[in-house]
Symmetry: C2
Subunit: 464 residues, 2 copies
């Protein structure tokens, strides 16, 4: 068969065990309602909070979930799946409910940001791709916001497509960075898809392809008459800045304005000071300086602490792969099945049972003072962060614009204790487990212990 017909992010983009488990559920008619929650177990090093992102893509995935003809054909030839089960998959749609924190919400470990309530096979099947979508944008938004906090008032542009992990990573990293407060991206498709402002400068190859650097600058400026950003470091950064100064009057007479210059190698602080000086002496005070070159939030903070005259930054690879913490310890766990709470008790990976709500309390000054993870319906102080977003497999309302998620995050940041907004690790924000949740977990564990001791008696032996 033609496997090119298989959609790259369709229903087969899942783990094999989801399908074998589904067949077992199908065989035994286990279609009762299940509740799964997605949460992060702990913060990576040097993160004081996380930013919820990726909900829009997760809901797209759930609404569009179906096995296409080519996928069903592949499954029926694979060998592990019986025809009646493949017929069931052909009819399968996501018919459940979703509750979630809106994108742009600040959250903490053990706080679910998404809950799926659906017949067990549906809720199970979607696990792999749901985690894949929520994990990545949350990871990147939580990384990108650190650059936003490190460089207030500076222009920040995502430059990371080329070394992002594949096509979707490049596209969605641009989205997550914009949600986190970046000004825009260089990734054209992200501009076209999500309305994110596009920025770009020029590459070294453009300069190299010309025999003369000044001629390269002039041609590029003519092609982008209002906003050309000229790249200075192909050969000699300061010499190139001098060329820009000599070129500017002629361009001005042609009605062309050089928007800025970019420095992409060497000691960025030193180059920026010298280039600023050359530009200023040459009457180009309004030409901005843009810096790039394997930057991250720590370097932004250092450059700005030193007073470097840099107006904007291209932040690429290290943000788009979240280089210092390239994954989150997250999970999508069954918390309830057929009306009964469920709990995984694996060592170091135990989960809190039941369906939950997260509450945030504010102090008199309006600053976030602590969260509580509680059972749904359990009375708590503060504002509830999780809301219904999907019912019967359809969104309850159109997604808020990306701008709204962006604004939500900025509002939440402004109410976050300032220590948490630092790049360094702060004292953890208090997240309390409610009395009701603790009680449910204890009840569950007591029942499990009883079950195990019965097992031991059954074996006629006792184990440590």
């Amino acid at each position: 068969m033609n496997t090119d017909a298989l959609p790259p992010s369709g229903a087969l983009l899942t783990d094999f065990y989801q399908l074998t488990m589904l067949q077992a559920y199908f065989d035994r008619g286990m279609f009762a309602p299940a509740v799964f929650e997605f949460y992060v177990r702990e913060l990576p090093p040097r993160r004081n909070f996380l930013v919820a992102a990726g909900l829009a893509q997760a809901l797209d995935f759930l609404e569009g979930l179906r096995f296409e003809a080519a996928e069903l054909e592949w499954l029926s030839h694979h060998g592990a799946f019986r025809p009646d089960f493949v017929d069931y998959l052909a009819r399968l749609r996501f018919s459940g409910e979703v509750h979630a924190m809106p994108e742009g919400t600040v959250f903490f470990p053990n706080e679910p940001i998404l809950r799926v309530s659906a017949p067990l096979p549906e809720a199970q099947l979607v696990e792999s791709r749901l985690i894949n979508l929520l994990h990545f944008q949350t990871l990147i938004a939580s990384k990108a916001v650190r650059s936003v906090l490190a460089a207030p008032g500076r222009r920040l542009v995502d430059f990371g497509l080329r070394r992002a992990h594949g096509a979707e990573a490049g596209l969605l990293a641009a989205r997550a960075a914009y949600l986190a407060g970046f000004d825009g991206t260089a990734t054209v498709l992200a501009g076209a898809r999500f309305g994110i402002p596009l920025y770009g400068t020029m590459a070294h190859s453009f300069v190299q392809a010309h025999d003369d650097e000044a001629a390269a600058f002039e041609r590029f400026a003519h092609s982008l008459p209002q906003n050309a950003v000229l790249l200075l470091d192909t050969y000699d950064t300061e010499a190139a800045a001098e060329k820009v100064v000599r070129l500017a009057p002629r361009l001005r007479r042609a009605g062309i304005r050089v928007g800025g210059v970019r420095i992409d190698s060497g000691d960025l602080a030193a180059h920026a000071r010298r280039v600023r000086d050359i530009l200023d002496r040459g009457g180009l005070r309004d030409v901005t300086i843009f810096a790039s070159s394997n930057l991250d939030e720590d370097q932004l903070a250092r450059l700005l602490r030193d007073g470097s005259p840099i107006d904007g930054f291209g932040v690429g690879t290290r943000m788009d792969v979240s280089a210092d913490a390239p994954y989150l310890d997250c999970a999508y766990k069954l918390q309830e099945y057929a009306g009964r709470a469920r709990r995984k008790r694996s060592e170091g990976k135990a989960s809190w049972p039941g369906r939950k709500q997260v509450w945030r309390r504010y102090d008199a000054a309006g600053m976030a003072a602590g969260d509580a993870v509680a059972l749904e319906g359990e009375a708590q102080d503060g504002s509830a962060l999780i809301e219904p977003v999907m019912r019967g497999g359809r969104r309850l309302r159109p997604d808020p614009p990306l701008q709204a998620a962006r604004a939500r995050l900025q509002e939440q940041l402004s109410r976050l204790p300032s220590a948490l907004r630092s790049l360094d690790e702060a004292r953890p924000y208090p997240v309390e487990i409610s009395a009701g949740l603790k009680r449910l977990a204890q009840e569950f564990d007591a029942a499990a212990e009883l079950d195990q001791s019965q097992n031991r008696n059954h074996r006629g032996e006792s184990q440590a």
Copy 2:
């Protein structure tokens, strides 16, 4: 317009500056042949070599490159692009040549693994996505091979989809891991697309959804009668192993064979020893033990050094994001335009000019003894690693099967000095720059110095 019609990995998945530079090239008729090369500048920490991967996807991208109607429409409304240029883009196809190292080739810093020769705008436009494709699979194959070296003879399965960075990353990480010597993947689409063997066990949720763990095991085994792998650690690992022992006779009478068990938390070595003992005492010597839980090559090496009775490993997140080194310092640089060598001289990022070949010498025992990076056509000892793969925008031959790339890598590994096959950093493998290449770089630099001194005279000042 409906931006959902924009293909997720189409021609707009590029950096904005590629399009503005293309417009400048178009304006000035700069269509002469350009040569770009893709290479890695330096090895990440604890890598002794890299594995070339991603060529098949890169060639797919080049053969399929075209702006679709929806993309052209978006471009013409953007504002930065003139109608005559958009018309040019509508006709644009990749018509060039590609030379490359076959997938599965071991390579080192400064060795190009792919060369594009094409009219300048074509060779320029493809930069962002070509890097995006080559970088990721090379990154993952170079990470995955370390698990293969650490765990010879053990079954290795990619488990990383859920925390890979998006859909394409999950799919292509499975491919790169298989190329590197993994036995298979859990990612169904990778099995369907690339013919990679699929493996899977069961999830904690399956056990949790049953009121009784033993009943969950029995049901799962019935649904996968020849190869069920039962997950032991949802509640108590050893207690679950005892349940498997008690269950096995009944399953055997029903013609069902338990293939293996999986341990996914706690002290894997200790659990594996106790579980092996329980299984052996219960007559289940042929039931294999499979381990997972945030594993990487270092943990595999440690577990096996300790003699843990583990037959196979699920390696996920840390491999699929290459957690200890989540990106490579790679570049795609212009080396020649209109018949003249070009060189970027940026501080710390200078490139070697001209079109190159990489040669590998072998000693009398057939072991790799050193590489040379030379100008194409410059006589060298050894075997040439770069070969023509595309001409006139079309592949010269069908891609070799993924199995062939996998075999090529194993052959190359067997000829690599053993220190390089260690997980620890070894003395660097010798890579020599040829006399011809050094001469060309000197000539280029001398001409550039001359040009700069003329500039300085022109400014009537002297700079340090």
